[in-house]
């Protein structure tokens, strides 16, 4: 039989959230009547906004009529109507991104996982720890060397570069998953300076940008000078507009961004990524793109802001509980995640098991995101209001009892 890509054996056997699902299923099998509250996987619960549904249904109708039917997209990088809408959105965030620098995808995860295909395996990867597991896994699959910048209690879980260490490709995520921390403008300037000194590329995950309320916190890396020569940004409508089951996101690759061939010639990252996608991707479903474009209309923005405000209030409720209990945490503001220190110096998985068993509340063990996550825990604000309140009442009792 064919030989395996052995790098897969270096990975955890399952993706983190599949392991968590297995634990929950085992608990449910033993406790069929348990009233489980899920605050683990960062999935939204509010339905898609009405204006978005209407736009998608209109797109469906167009697909059913010969004159308006859409087959393959020419480019596979998204329809102009959507790329233009994203470009206009970036203007409002204070970033000048042309539509042709935007590629529409089926959610940030795919591009985030696949982008590494275009880079040589001898590049050194820098990941902040803890981090979204895809950054690490997608590079381990190609056997790349990964180094870590520590995010920890001391630096508010916002790792900064060590100039004595070289990296070629850097993953940053702000607002951060899992820690809820955000980088300030000046911190991002430092990262770009480090990237320039190392001739490195930053892959910037801005999936949670819509949760930023502080006007001084950049909502795109392209709000920072010099980012166009050093950065790729990946964003998604999953958390912004509840698209976790709809599947649409976008990647920004500036025209100015280059990658180096062994003969020292410089090649456009956008061109090489386009070549990769030309052979391995055929674009996003047309009705989904119609739905996505509606998110960026005035009415769409108004409707999704109501949903985001609902989640932000959940985040406040969770944060207030932590404050009241004297539990240390980051996030909650500018972020849908609350990242807290497990009581009594418990381990992450130990606390996961305790919460599941004692109060039937599911969260995500910080250890699943890297070594600095050990002893920490992530809760999400994406649940129902009533269930969030109920979970926090149970949580209070649990923490007071141990």
């Amino acid at each position: 039989m064919p030989r395996l890509n052995e790098n897969f054996l270096k990975l955890e056997k399952n993706y983190l959230f599949i392991n968590i699902a297995k634990k929950i299923n085992a608990f449910k099998a033993e406790n069929p009547d348990a009233d489980i509250i899920r605050m683990g996987i960062g999935d939204v619960t509010l339905p898609i906004a009405p204006v978005v549904i209407e736009a998608m249904k209109k797109g469906c109708d167009e697909m059913g009529v010969k004159e308006t039917f859409k087959g393959y997209e020419d480019s596979g990088a998204g329809y102009d109507f959507l790329k233009n809408a994203v470009s206009e959105y970036y203007k409002k965030l204070g970033a000048d991104i042309s539509p042709n620098e935007i590629r529409i995808n089926d959610g940030a995860k795919s591009d985030c996982g696949n982008i590494v295909d275009i880079f040589g395996n001898d590049n050194i990867i820098l990941v902040t720890d803890p981090a979204y597991p895809v950054y690490v896994d997608s590079n381990l699959m190609n056997g790349r060397k990964i180094i870590y910048a520590d995010s920890n209690e001391e630096n508010g879980f916002a790792a900064m570069p060590d100039y004595s260490v070289h990296a070629d490709i850097i993953y940053l995520c702000s607002p951060n998953n899992p820690t809820g921390s955000v980088y300030t403008k000046s911190q991002l300037e430092t990262w770009i300076d480090y990237a320039k000194k190392n001739n490195a590329v930053i892959i910037y995950d801005s999936a949670y940008e819509a949760f930023i309320t502080d006007k001084d916190i950049p909502r795109s890396i392209f709000c920072i000078d010099g980012a166009k020569e050093t950065c790729i940004e990946m964003c998604s409508l999953s958390k912004t507009a509840g698209f976790t089951g709809m599947r649409c996101g976008y990647t920004v690759i500036p025209d100015a961004l280059k990658v180096k061939a062994s003969d020292e010639t410089e090649v456009s990252v956008s061109q090489i990524w386009g070549r990769r996608q030309g052979s391995k991707f055929n674009g996003v479903s047309y009705p989904v793109q119609c739905a996505a474009a509606a998110v960026f209309t005035d009415e769409g923005q108004k409707q999704i802001r109501e949903n985001i405000a609902y989640y932000q209030e959940n985040a406040r409720i969770i944060s207030d509980t932590m404050t009241k209990l004297g539990v240390k945490f980051t996030g909650g503001i500018n972020s849908p995640y609350i990242w807290f220190k497990c009581p009594n110096n418990m381990g992450s998985w130990e606390f996961f098991d305790l919460m599941l068993k004692e109060i039937a509340v599911v969260g995500t063990p910080g250890a699943g995101f890297g070594k600095n996550g050990e002893g920490w825990f992530r809760l999400t604000a994406f649940g129902d209001r009533d269930r969030t309140i109920e979970a926090m009442q149970r949580f209070e009792k649990l923490v007071e009892s141990i």
Copy 2:
């Protein structure tokens, strides 16, 4: 800056169909009034069947209501309702495939391009020539050695294995893109025998299976004994139900299929591919899956069969023209493609340019699919009836004039 994956420099600069689009755009710029008929890229033109549109709109409505809203799929491999429908469909084709051996995707191209990620780079790849460019490109991107089995006029463009040559991973496509040829049951048995003797895996592309009319031609590799130990099958709704702009397909990985680690242990292909997808894919849009499921209902099958019959009649019209003109061809029966020998021993691209310039008809140069495609040309039956007839009238005049 980071170092490039140098394998990309071995690829043609653009994906074939992007080069063709460029030629057409240049022609249009010079001849703005030209009445171009497109029979090149294999894109469909009939709208999506009504029952499918209704199902998708119902799926949209569910996304707009809290009680029926769907976020992330647990597995990312497709909802049970769709996997069950595909499994039932396979039963009708004469193949016993359980739902858990089926993974739903956003079209065959993504899985077909990405599947190679799980195999080591030291595997030898066997591709029939000519072939769909993704088989070659996706392996060149990883630097794998590719060998070819010749499909040519002598063997009716249905390459058979050379037992004196070893391969680890074999790509087969039947009905074939681009040649329209189909493998018989006995030919597929030979390929599986060859695969077993070489401990190889066959990646079987059945994207055009719905066009098979001959009852003796298998519509799935899993109609053949021994396929479950040797084959992965990839299919798509793009050509079956006009989903080129909707984006949904499915990959079958039997539980019995294994891949070998360097310590000679055997690992489940399905498990490793699931691990890959867990980190790099988040499933298909829920309303798209609703649409796809409707294709497999009785009413859905009835409606899509009408569209397929329409295209099959186009194929007959094209075939009849070739027969009348004494032009050699394969396909047209059991296939939406007609693969013909360029008149006067012209080269493929030479004939492409001639057709575009003289009769404004666009096809696909055979040379774009591999060396054995040189001197041959592909036309598709996916166009309008009137335009297909018009194109064949123009074609007749052109061939008679040269």
